[in-house]
């Protein structure tokens, strides 16, 4: 039992194979590997890892259950704090959160908490052992949740477990928000998102698709109608562009559009699905975050001959997860650091054919603490491209703010809400996730959702 193991790697598809399909890259742990990995956990009395988790998953407790082969119980232990473990096990940046604080990570490699979370969640689902916890009596209170992404699903699940009646309004035809339109199949299989959403539905949450709040109904109308409180978790909806000449050439996409076509509309299965997407050619992705990696790896799988990431800073400043950068590199994606496009040039049909770029150097640190990229005069050069994907972030979608008088927003248009409660400037209206913070991570949105759910519950029950 005292045998010391190294951190167990997750078996995964070979790069040469996976670039030809949209199947998930890692296969996940086997029972044997999971047991080995779990045995590395020291079960600290004061677990630092739990503090690193935005929703405080009882990590040593669930890993202890794994050690004893109680995989289903381990999944249920996680679900006490987090209703979406199969998703978080896959897309959380554990290296910056729980695993960063793991004690054995100080000398060696931390326990693979994310991989274990994923393993037990998958195990529970595949064994068909998902159970609904005992539900408290109905409170008779009704809550409207705007958006069915990570924040909204968390709020809805938590409030349903407290006996409230929850209705989620989703603008698109399928629930899941960024989990469905943004993150590709090869990183987060949609059947997993579906089953996690199913779980939230089984808790009694009603989901209404095609309901664009701000258009179909306003927040005020929801409150005047049947709802006692509203949570806004509408996400970071509006794509940023670079505002350079030629950006509206045919073949220049926002990452949102490109990924929505492929993920939500299943354009990667065109013509079985009707929505088209360009396939093949030379693809340039502008940006250095996870969305840029997702776009680049999607392009590769759609048959691109060459895919380039164009990033204006250097490798060290890239916001993407290390795993994602690594996966992209393995798959043969080219990285061009310290380069930024200044113009896109199109042919006579308006189709993009060249990206005029300029070399950059790093200057003084900016507000984000990262060194500011500065143009190097006279270093312009041009790159042949067939498709360009702009993945430089999102601004908040203004639909709700514009139609909700009295709702305070900051200068970027993000809704202002209290960090410790999610309360906005309007009584009974709460907000959390990317619409408040700007684009962040799935788990941070879930953390905000969990906090807001607590505050909404108190509000509904008339507590202070």
């Amino acid at each position: 039992m005292k045998e010391r193991h190294d951190r167990q790697k997750i078996p995964e598809q070979k790069p040469s194979e996976r670039i030809n399909n949209f199947r998930e890259v890692p296969f996940g742990y086997t029972e044997e590997i999971a047991l080995k990995e779990a045995s590395r956990c020291l079960e600290c009395k004061k677990p630092m890892c739990v503090q690193g988790c935005p929703v405080n998953v009882p990590i040593p407790d669930f890993i202890k259950l794994v050690k004893h082969g109680k995989f289903v119980e381990a999944a249920r232990k996680i679900k006490e704090a987090n209703s979406l473990p199969a998703i978080c096990g896959r897309v959380c940046p554990q290296e910056d959160q729980c695993e960063k604080l793991c004690v054995i990570g100080k000398k060696g490699k931390p326990v693979a908490i994310g991989a274990l979370e994923r393993f037990v969640a998958d195990y529970e689902r595949e064994k068909g052992d998902v159970i609904i916890p005992d539900m408290p009596p109905k409170t008779g209170r009704k809550v409207a949740v705007v958006g069915s992404g990570p924040a909204g699903l968390t709020v809805a699940g938590e409030l349903a477990k407290k006996g409230h009646e929850v209705t989620i309004f989703e603008a698109l035809h399928k629930p899941g928000g960024v989990l469905v339109y943004g993150i590709p199949e090869f990183r987060l299989p949609k059947k997993i998102v579906e089953s996690e959403i199913d779980y939230v539905k089984k808790l009694g949450v009603k989901i209404i698709p095609n309901a664009v709040i701000g258009k179909s109904a306003t927040v005020a109308e929801l409150l005047e109608g049947e709802f006692d409180a509203v949570f806004i978790g509408s996400g970071a909806g509006a794509p940023k562009f670079m505002n350079i000449p030629g950006e509206n050439c045919v073949g220049v996409f926002s990452a949102n559009e490109y990924l929505t076509r492929s993920n939500l509309m299943k354009a990667y299965r065109f013509p079985e699905y009707d929505t088209p997407i360009p396939m093949g050619g030379i693809v340039a992705v502008v940006g250095g975050g996870n969305v840029a990696m997702d776009s680049a790896r999607t392009a590769l799988r759609l048959g691109a001959g060459k895919v380039m990431i164009i990033y204006r800073r250097s490798r060290e400043e890239m916001p993407a997860r290390i795993d994602e950068i690594h996966h992209a590199e393995e798959e043969g994606i080219e990285f061009h650091f310290l380069v930024n496009p200044v113009e896109f040039i199109c042919d006579e049909y308006g189709k993009v054919k060249e990206a005029e770029c300029i070399k950059m150097k790093l200057g003084e640190p900016d507000d984000s603490g990262r060194r500011r990229p500065v143009k190097i005069d006279g270093s312009e050069f041009s790159v042949k491209v067939d498709t360009v994907i702009i993945a430089i972030g999102n601004d908040p979608n203004p639909l709700i703010q514009k139609t909700t008088p009295g709702l305070e927003v900051n200068r970027w248009g993000n809704i202002i809400s209290e960090k410790e409660s999610g309360k906005t400037s309007i009584e009974g209206v709460y907000a959390g996730g990317d619409i408040v913070t700007g684009a962040a991570t799935v788990i941070e949105a879930m953390g905000a959702g969990k906090i807001a759910a607590g505050a909404i519950h108190k509000f509904l029950m008339g507590e202070k």
Partner: protein, 278 residues
């Protein structure tokens, strides 16, 4: 699921469909659109709400078959259902009493022009209608337009119905005769461009309703971006109506054809005769 209450063919490949969509019908104003998806494998298709009946909980849409998904919609029969209807989307038209309003519809654009013309009429304006098509069989919604306009002029490119010529010829005549406070033009891009070129000379404010390629229709993807007064705008949330004198129509034309090699995809006429003239 949204049941089709009635369906009528009004021209070759053009159908008038009344469908159940109570939530949309309750909120909808002139100038707004819905995004439809007949089934799981379909595209999301933006279509103007032609009319609505809040009491019955129905909306009316006019569908022209231009691609695979619109073909699927056209093949549905009364009693069958569409999977998704989202809306009402886009900004309603700003309707006020202005005087004489000329509403110009080209081809299936008449279906977009009609609800706005009706709203202007209900607000006490005098509405002059002009509808144009390539040929007699493609003239649509004549009776509906007649009912809400004080005068309706019809043009066909080949002279097979109404007067021979383009909508711009008829509009020229109207401008000569009366003071036009505002023009609304909806149709193929070359038609809207030609109308705007004409009204610019006469300094008449002209709104156009644009129908670029969209995906989500809620401001999330930017597929529908157009350049208006030198700035990029999203048609779905900033439009669909814009000041026609400020729209970059050439860019719009190119963006509409972005997928024509992958699929016959875009809405508007193929081989518009006016295009050659502009």
């Amino acid at each position: 699921m949204h049941k089709i209450m009635s369906k009528k063919k009004i021209a070759e490949d053009i159908y008038k469909i009344v469908l159940e969509a109570p939530a949309v019908a309750a909120k909808r104003k002139a100038g707004q659109f819905v995004v439809l998806r007949p089934e799981e494998t379909s595209e999301r298709i933006p279509l103007t709400i032609f009319d609505s009946d809040a009491g019955k909980g129905t909306i009316t849409i006019i569908v022209q078959v231009v691609g695979k998904t619109t073909k699927k919609i056209a093949l549905l029969e009364e009693g069958e259902t569409l999977l998704d209807v989202a809306g009402p989307l886009g900004n309603p038209t700003h309707i006020e009493r202005k005087g004489n309003i000329a509403v110009v519809g080209g081809g299936v654009g008449t279906a977009v022009a009609y609800p706005v013309a009706k709203a202007f009429r209900e607000a006490g304006n005098d509405v002059i209608g002009i509808i144009g098509a390539r040929t007699k069989e493609l003239v649509i919604l004549e009776d509906e337009m007649k009912a809400i306009t004080s005068e309706l002029l019809i043009t066909t490119d080949d002279g097979s119905y109404g007067r021979k010529g383009f909508v711009t010829d008829a509009l020229k005549e109207v401008i000569r005769k009366i003071t036009v406070a505002e023009v609304l033009a909806v149709g193929p891009v070359p038609m809207m461009k030609a109308v705007c070129n004409l009204t610019k000379q006469h300094n008449i404010r002209t709104m156009v309703s644009l129908n670029p390629i969209m995906v989500d229709g809620t401001g999330m993807c930017g597929a529908c971006r157009v350049t208006v007064a030198g700035k990029t705008r999203f048609t779905c949330v900033d439009g669909p109506e814009f000041d026609g004198h400020e729209v970059d129509f050439d860019e719009l034309t190119k963006r509409l054809k972005g997928y024509s090699d992958m699929e016959k995809h875009y809405i508007g006429h193929k081989g518009c005769n006016l295009e050659n003239k502009v």
